[in-house]
Amino acid sequence: MLHDIFIAPFQDMFSAPDFLLQVLWEGLVSGILYALIALGFVLIFRSSRIFNFAQGIMVVFAALTLVGLHAMGVPAWICVLLTLGVMFVLAMAIERVVLRPLVGQPDIILFMATIGITLFLIGFGEIIFGGENKVMITEELGIPTGSWTLEPFGGLLILEQKDVTAVVVAALLVIGLLVFLSRTQMGRAIRALGDDSQAALSVGISLHTIWVLVWFIAGIIALVTGIAWGARAGVSFALEVIAYKALPVLMLGGLESIAGAIIGGLMIGLLEKLFEIYWGQPLMGGNTETWFAFVLALLVLLFRPQGLFGEKIIERV
């Protein structure tokens, strides 16, 4: 037993390094997409203390809008622009109709409001787009759909071009967001609101504008995530559950840390894949990905309740 746990997995890794590389690649792809979803949560939480339960359904809604518009004959890249427009209108509507009347309410009320937004978007989306699985307009968007076959260590490594595209686009988006948050006035305003909302409001930062902005950024992230996941297995309401994979990322990385979301996402993507392949499948019958990330996050919380990168909460009594 000890051999199976401590020796055999590493022997497997060294005996088939090409396969190990494939596992790491698949983990990286999943991880960067988890990180992207987690970023959507973090941005909204930092600026408004709202845990946005609707992030998952926003992924579905954005992807469905994109393919729905294309089905109406609109050219692919115009669809992207129109979908961004729809996500902006959605952000404004959420701020105006849902959040603004709830300013000053306890966090749990705002959280419940995002559950309401989720239920509304599910119903609205199903009425408008139907529940059928739809094909993502991958080729129409110019995303390559072939694969590169490499032979490292005399073995086999398959890199799907759409996965490579997803990793590159997600990485660019993350870098872009970091630059936006650190180098632009609006970005600094978002961070200021997260650091000290009262001080930020006192120097004239508009809460309403920032809320619309962060929800719109969450919408952009949702669209990119929807395209990336939708290109893998179609666009349907099943995509919503992908967002729940971001929850352990947030527990691990901390709800307020952008770096935590990125590193937490990558860590969970890579570790859950390694654990599943080298320990889960041989020793536990597989399907450990459904719980591994949560157990990992719980272990971290035992020692660092604020997550790896979250801010330590000190309350004076």
């Binding site: 698949e26 059928e132 309401f237």
Partner: protein, 430 residues
């Protein structure tokens, strides 16, 4: 005069209510048009609904009694399914749970409530044993039938040909996905092939890279899939990605949905699915569906969906219920049958070639017959193959290995009854 008008209006409304209550047979469907499984649920539910709409519009119902085909949305959630069962059981003559998980939950309740469960092609395979499961029906085929036919097909009708082979069993980690395991494990032990169960969690349906990495590492000779909802499309895209030979990839009858394969198109060529039904687009029933349902604007479907496997299977499934209702009406010589009478009807189904021709459904399902001891009928089926654009027939009519399935059904049914004692047994059935 004013008083008289009010009384007349009240009498009219009351008469109307009485008429509609007396003239309808309430047949609820625990459907799912929302959630992660909606993509596969919708075409089936549309087919089922359109069939009864046609029956009501064309024939005025069955035996002159209209069918109230109601839907209760479960989202494929077992909890919601049980709620739907409780909500509808008051007037229902049947419950159609549409999930193995819901079927297992309501199975003991139906003994008490005396409502037949109709689960065509799904549910708990030992439900075939009608002596033990008096109220449950899964005609025309069980999951063990499907597994048996798949093994027969890939072994060229001789399971000994599978000796030394490795078969991966990629399944949803859910009661549905685990259902054929007892049969497959028994066959693996008997015929000397290695069975490798690979579960897919509900949250991992669209991200099966780990499962397909395992398949790449284990190099199985065949992959048998027991997938549903978003899992099917996820598995097929991963199979394409890992370059698994599609001709060695075969799914159960719920893993053969046209829309799932359209995502990969030509790359999915060669993928197969066992099926107890076939879409026969030139069958006479299609013209009646068009005339009485589609042209009348009463269908929620579309031409593309209506040409697919699942929509047409929905028609077959409703036909089975309709035949049960008709058999009960004919036997009890009453139009408005109750649940107990429908149980008799479902237990005495006799869907022959002639009857299928009368129904305009020749070839859409193979003939089958149920009895008090056989609630499945074991119609057999066909292998359908994806040709890049649609599913086409890839085998002659196949039959399950009933000689080995039947003893296992009896054994597992007895185990279930013992575990849930006291469990009523139909001693009159010989």
């Amino acid at each position: 005069m004013k008083h008289f008008t009010k009384m007349a209006l009240a009498a009219t409304v009351a008469a109307g209510l009485c008429t509609s209550a007396a003239a309808d047979i309430y047949a609820p469907n625990l459907s799912y048009r929302t959630g992660p499984f909606a993509a596969t649920g919708i075409p089936l539910m549309n087919g089922q609904k359109d069939y009864f709409t046609m029956i009501n519009e064309r024939d005025g119902g069955i035996g002159g009694v209209k069918i109230e085909f109601d839907e209760c949305e479960t989202g494929y959630s077992t909890e919601k399914g049980v709620e739907c069962y409780e909500k509808t059981k008051g007037r229902a003559v049947v419950t159609q749970p549409w999930s193995t998980g819901i079927t297992l939950q309501v199975l003991p309740k139906t003994n008490v409530d005396m409502i037949p469960i109709l689960a065509p092609g799904y549910g708990f395979s030992p439900m075939a044993d009608g002596k033990v499961f008096q109220w449950a029906f899964n005609a025309p085929g069980s999951y063990w039938d499907a597994a048996s036919m798949i093994l027969k097909f890939i072994s060229q009708d001789n399971l000994d040909n599978l000796k030394g082979k490795k078969i991966a069993f990629l399944h949803l980690d859910h009661p549905f996905g685990k259902e054929p395991l007892p049969f497959l494990e028994a066959k693996a032990a008997q015929h000397g092939f290695e069975l490798l169960p690979i579960p897919v969690g509900l949250k991992e349906m669209q991200n099966q890279s780990a499962q397909w990495l395992q398949i790449r590492r284990e190099r199985p000779d065949y992959v048998i899939m027991w997938g549903w909802g978003a899992m099917n499309a996820g598995a097929i895209t991963e199979a394409v990605k890992t370059k698994f030979p599609m001709e060695n990839f075969i799914g159960t009858w719920w893993s053969g949905h046209d829309a799932d394969l359209k995502i990969v198109g030509e790359d999915g060529k060669g993928y197969k699915s066992i099926s107890f039904s076939r879409p026969m687009l030139d069958a006479a029933i299609q013209a009646d569906i068009k005339k009485y349902v589609v042209d009348a604007g009463k269908s929620q479907s579309n031409p593309e969906e209506m040409s697919g496997v699942f929509y047409n299977r929905g028609l077959v499934i409703s036909m089975i219920l309709a035949e049960g209702i008709k058999a009960a009406q004919d036997h009890f010589k009453v139009g408005e049958i109750n649940a107990e009478q429908l149980r008799w009807g479902l237990e005495n189904l006799n869907v022959t070639e002639e009857r299928l021709a009368e129904l305009g459904m020749t070839g859409m399902v193979a003939p089958f017959k149920t009895s008090c001891s056989d609630h499945t009928g074991h119609s057999g089926g066909w292998v359908l193959e994806w040709d890049g654009k649609a599913f086409v027939e890839a085998s002659d009519h196949l039959t399950p290995d009933s000689a080995s399935i039947q003893p296992l059904e009896v054994e597992k049914a007895a185990e279930y009854a013992a575990a849930n004692a006291p469990w009523p047994i139909n001693e009159e059935c010989k």
